[in-house]
């Protein structure tokens, strides 16, 4: 697979969430991931896009979501940036804790972490950037499962 990067600037709408998911699915297929991994990647991107649109930009039409996909021989790297107040990952409750189990929200970041090999969250005063990495099957970076 050759290195390739593509980026999109999207409105803070529900259509952006669906578009991000659809694009992630297409790029993951093209990158050579299997069905289960494609589903994981598309869902992780969907959840990150939901966070950006709802919790970051709060549907503000003046704020944009930037979505970037970079494929290398080793990784698929996806970056989602919003222009919100900044998400503090330390303040995200554990959705598996007994007191949170029956809550109706708060599982997005947990699902993203469950589905991707690496997740980095960079909050700032000008928004949040979340970087998602999935190792390409058969590449040297695809060692997470073997190490767990």
């Amino acid at each position: 697979m050759t290195d390739h990067r593509v980026s999109y600037t999207l409105d803070s709408t529900l259509e952006t969430v669906d578009s991000a998911e659809t694009t992630a699915t297409r790029i993951a297929v093209e990158a050579g991931f299997g069905d289960d991994e494609v589903m994981q990647i598309s869902m992780a991107v969907r959840e990150a896009a939901v966070n950006a649109v709802l919790h970051g930009n709060a549907y503000d039409p003046g704020k944009k979501v930037k979505l970037e996909f970079e494929t290398t021989g080793r990784d698929l790297v996806i970056t989602i940036r919003d222009q919100g107040k900044g998400l503090d990952p330390a303040k995200i409750p554990d959705p598996l804790a007994p007191e949170n189990l029956m809550k109706t929200s708060g599982r997005g970041i947990f699902l993203i972490r469950s589905f991707m090999d690496e997740v980095q969250i960079h909050p700032s005063q000008t928004g949040t950037e979340i970087k998602l990495v999935k190792h390409v099957p058969g590449s040297s970076g695809d060692a997470k499962e073997a190490s767990q």
């Binding site: 869902m43 969907r46 598996l96 109706t104 599982r107 699902l111």
Partner: protein, 114 residues
């Protein structure tokens, strides 16, 4: 494919056959409204057939939790039927599989209602 629901009655149990996607926006709202409509009609034994649900996100999971809690708080029962592998796996990793009463076969699921 947007979400669709169809309800039928068997031995006092309302079976809601769901298909499509339960996701943020329309899908979650359709499920919420459908459950509310049943409760408004005093139909409190609800079997949610998810066999044709192709996709569910965290919002959809939250909607299932909300439906379960809402029905239980009104003295009813909500059970899940025919989970796809995707939905099954999602409920497993979110530790909700044991919270919900999950059934694999319709006839025995109906008998399991009190």
């Amino acid at each position: 494919m947007s979400m669709k629901t169809n309800t039928r009655q068997v031995d006092g149990v309302t079976i809601m056959d769901c298909s499509g996607r339960i996701t943020l926006g329309e899908g979650s709202v359709i499920l919420r409204d459908a459950v509310r409509d049943l409760l408004a009609k005093n139909q409190k034994k609800i079997l949610l057939n998810l066999g044709e649900v192709t996709y569910i996100d965290s919002s959809g999971i939250g909607e299932l939790v909300s439906a379960f809690t809402t029905v239980r708080n009104q003295g009813g029962e909500l059970k899940l039927l025919n989970l796809t592998k995707k939905v099954h796996d999602l409920l497993q990793i979110t530790k909700l599989y044991t919270v919900f009463d999950v059934k694999e076969e319709e006839a025995s699921a109906i008998k399991a209602f009190k």
